[in-house]
């Protein structure tokens, strides 16, 4: 009985390097984390050695600056205003976009005549007319929301129209023959069918809205984010700039994530169609 354990062949012991390599080969997430930590460490080290502290703050200095920057009621107010503008611009894009897209997409005639117009307007590079938005809507929230809507609305319109095109006529006929009226057909057949393409549009609309609102925010230097970025860079306060940029990045990640989760939830019951 005792001889069994001794006669077992010895497992060749792996070198620590090989084991480390295997660990990361099996866990890409861990490797990603290590890369991120390494980059931050590199940033910290270069901030203390080769980089001019007037231009690049190491992460530790930025963390120390957070209470000072966010404690400034003006900065906090500007961030909140931006958040409201983003949410409002997104909401307006979605509602207006759906209201515009449904009449266009439901009929062959409107589709053929109005879709080219939508595409024509979509092809204008909006950044060229950013100064006009400020001229027409002022330096306040209006111009930023309006500019965000011009970026956010097109993905909604185009996705909803595309979704309507895949609506099977048989479904409409079936609903009709079962005695559904127009409103019921819309609510029970058209809207559920639109959900996946609408939510795919929502994700694109969110990135569009973020781009539009933040562009306008940075462009207008009379107040809001644009004022503070200008102030911080002119007073050589890179920690404050990084804090502000970091807060905006978190805002963007948060909003993108909300839309992504909503999309997952809303279309769980049907397979993604592309």
């Amino acid at each position: 009985m005792t001889s069994v354990s001794t006669s077992m062949p010895e497992v060749p012991s792996l070198s620590p390097m090989t084991r480390l390599r295997d660990y990361f080969l099996l866990r890409p997430g861990a490797a990603r984390l290590v890369i991120c930590i390494a980059l931050v460490a590199l940033w910290e080290i270069s901030g203390h050695t080769i980089m001019d502290p007037d231009f690049l703050s190491p992460p530790s200095a930025i963390i120390q600056a957070i209470p000072r920057v966010l404690g400034n009621p003006g900065v906090l107010g500007a961030l909140w205003d931006t958040f409201y503008e983003l949410v409002l611009a997104f909401a307006i894009s979605v509602v207006l976009g759906v209201l515009i897209a449904i009449p266009i997409g439901m009929h062959k005639f409107t589709l053929r005549s109005a879709l080219p117009l939508v595409l024509l307007l979509y092809s204008i590079p909006q950044v060229t007319i950013l100064p006009l938005f400020v001229l027409y809507f002022g330096v306040g929230a209006g111009s930023k929301i309006a500019f965000g809507v011009t970026h956010g609305i097109f993905p909604i319109i185009l996705n909803v129209i595309a979704g309507l095109q895949t609506l099977e006529a048989a479904l409409l006929t079936a609903a009709h023959s079962m005695g559904a009226n127009r409103r019921q057909i819309f609510r029970r057949v058209v809207l559920p069918h639109l959900t996946p393409s609408l939510f795919a549009g929502l994700r694109l609309a969110m990135s569009g809205t973020l781009l539009g609102v933040l562009l306008a925010e940075l462009y207008v230097s009379a107040g809001g984010i644009g004022y503070y970025t200008k102030l911080f860079s002119e007073s050589f306060d890179p920690s404050a700039t990084f804090t502000l940029v970091g807060a905006l990045a978190l805002m963007a990640v948060f909003l993108n994530e909300v839309v992504r989760r909503a999309e997952k939830r809303a279309s769980f019951w049907r397979t993604q169609q592309q």
Binding site: L25, P28, A31, R32, I35, C36, F55, L56, L111, R112, S113, A114, L115, P116, L117, L120, S123, I124, P125, V127, T128, I129, L130, P131, L132, L135, Y136, S207, L210, L211, L214, L215, L218, Y219, G226, T229, K230, F232, S233, P238, T241, F242, L244, V245, L248, A249, A252, V253, N256
Partner: protein, 257 residues
Amino acid sequence: MTKPGGFNWVALIVRVGFVLGVLAVWDYVTQNDIVSPIFLPPIRLVAVKFVQIIQSSTLYANLWVTVVEVISAFAIASTVGLTLGYLIGRSRYATTVLEPLIAGLFAIPVIIFLPIFILFFGIDIPSKIAFGATYAFFPIVLNTIGAVANVDQRLVTVARAMGANEQQLFRRVLFPAALPVIVTGLRMGAIVAFLSILASEQIAGLRGLGTRIVRLGEGMNMAEMFAYIVFVIIIAGLLNVSLTRLQRHFTPVEARQ
């Protein structure tokens, strides 16, 4: 909608009609003083200004600045993007680890980081090049990774079985198979570089088309500003059309719609 290969006449008529209608309304409201010329300059004045600016050296000096910025940014973004994209896409492990990292980073609007670019590279041309290059880098690298990683593995296996070495594999199999998707990334990168550089010139800059538009607006030279905007829209349209043509050229016939 349209028959394949057929020409959508309705689309053309609607578009031309819409543009003419907008121009007519614009002319009417400005000629009859319904809208203040400070908000909307008379279209006839804009037309006169447009003819003037395309004969002026100011336009070409600013155009030259923007063109140099866009070309430099695109050159940097495509060199780095194609190299990194190829190296990452070749290894399945690197793709699994790095692709989500790059895609996740791209979900944050790069425009947020513009203040940092200005902090590092100053307000003049270098910050525009760096910003445009960063923005254009993402579509190029992501498309290249996708293109190289998704090359049909059977093709690679067959080529290896027939004795292709690494260089032959790249030249004869990987490169041609990945080219259409890579070209899509390059086209997106070029357009993104142009638009982001215009935007950054508007937000903070000393020269270039974007800065020129903003300066004219600040000086209330509305007609000339509109003329510049029209010029930039035409340039953007030409860029878009020519790049789409170029891309079609690289797309295999069977993949065309």
